[in-house]
């Protein structure tokens, strides 16, 4: 409905342009502003967790140090590498779609999906290890190895932060799958690749948040 246009515009108009935009360029830059505004909200949402985490770390530094000793730096580092590589393949996909390289777009999107899946697999092993040791948040904390009681709070933050991040990874994978399908239908070209670009921005933000989560959770000592 929104793509209907009753006002006769100059010349033939591409199908993707919505009626309330003057031209495709306006539509593209508007979409990007919208996406960046959305990313700003994501930053402030995760930021709230970082603020709480940081303030509580200042109050209970021993609990934080004790808690982070239960996290596996190597696994965290591998996951960091996975996400950085996925960000790279994502930007390659955006580049490919903006230069009409359909198969390269699809290939890079599939690589991105593979890295994301790898991230989740490692996260799964980390989580199940924590579950097994009783390193659970709050009142479910059942670790018998001793240490400051506020480790329960540390793991509360750990699970909320990585859980919310993991949720964003899953959403990102769904979005990437969606644009992979659209790319395989040949819907994108140098004239119109907005969805690839926007999903790319989202995916880089997921990477960006992990870039901070990794040192703050795994490397405090």
């Amino acid at each position: 409905m929104s793509s209907e246009t009753h006002v006769v515009e100059h010349g033939a108009e591409p199908a993707f342009r919505q009626h309330h935009f003057v031209d495709a360029e306006q539509q593209f830059s508007t979409s990007k502003i919208g996406m960046w505004l959305f990313l700003a909200t994501e930053i402030l949402m995760f930021g709230g967790l970082f603020v709480g985490y940081g303030l509580m770390q200042g109050v209970y530094p021993e609990a934080w140090v004790a808690g982070h000793h239960h996290l596996d730096r190597i696994m965290g580092a591998i996951n960091t590498v996975f996400l950085l590589c996925s960000s790279f393949t994502m930007v390659m996909a955006v580049h490919a779609s903006s230069t009409n390289q359909k198969s390269k777009t699809i290939l890079n999107l599939l690589f991105t999906l593979a890295f994301a899946a790898g991230f989740l697999v490692i996260k799964y092993f980390e989580y199940s290890h924590k579950f097994h040791d009783g390193l659970l948040p709050g009142r479910y904390f059942a670790y018998h190895g001793g240490g400051p009681p506020q480790q329960a709070m540390f793991f509360g933050f750990y699970f909320v932060m990585t859980g919310l991040h993991g949720f964003h990874v899953v959403v990102g994978m769904a979005l990437i799958t969606w644009i992979t399908i659209r790319a395989s239908r040949g819907e994108f070209s140098s004239a119109y690749y907005t969805p690839v670009d926007l999903v790319g921005l989202y995916w880089h933000l997921v990477d960006l948040i992990w870039i901070y989560l990794f040192p703050l959770l795994y490397l405090v000592s």
């Binding site: 360029e25 990007k32 960046w36 603020v51 230069t99 506020q150 960006l208 901070y212 703050l216």
Partner: protein
Amino acid sequence: MSDHAHAHSNSARVYVFTLAVLLILTGITVGAAYVNFGSSSINLFIAVGIATLKASLVALFFMHLRHDPPLNAIIFISSLIFLGLFLLFPWIDIYSRDRVVPYGLRVQAQPAAAQKQAPAPAAGEHGAAPAPAAAHH
């Protein structure tokens, strides 16, 4: 498209180079975590500093802020500024008052002394804070 023209010039080589730098920085940050710089604040400062460097690279190159219209960068940076405000005020509050702690959980209240650190993202770190006393379980 505004960055369409740049999309061609911004060749894949730049992306490969960015990725290489990001991976090297990751290596450095993991390596630095094994080194004791004397104070945990310094370690954290280094870790967060490297993270900020990495985040800037991702934002500038992968997210195209380098070539985008300035509004997008303004949106991005203002979100960080407001996040800074959100950290600053509770931080001022928590470190300039007696902590709200239940009986028996802590013997001594938080001293208001150790506040020289700037309210950067690393501000939550306070290695100098006194140890919490007895377990309450």
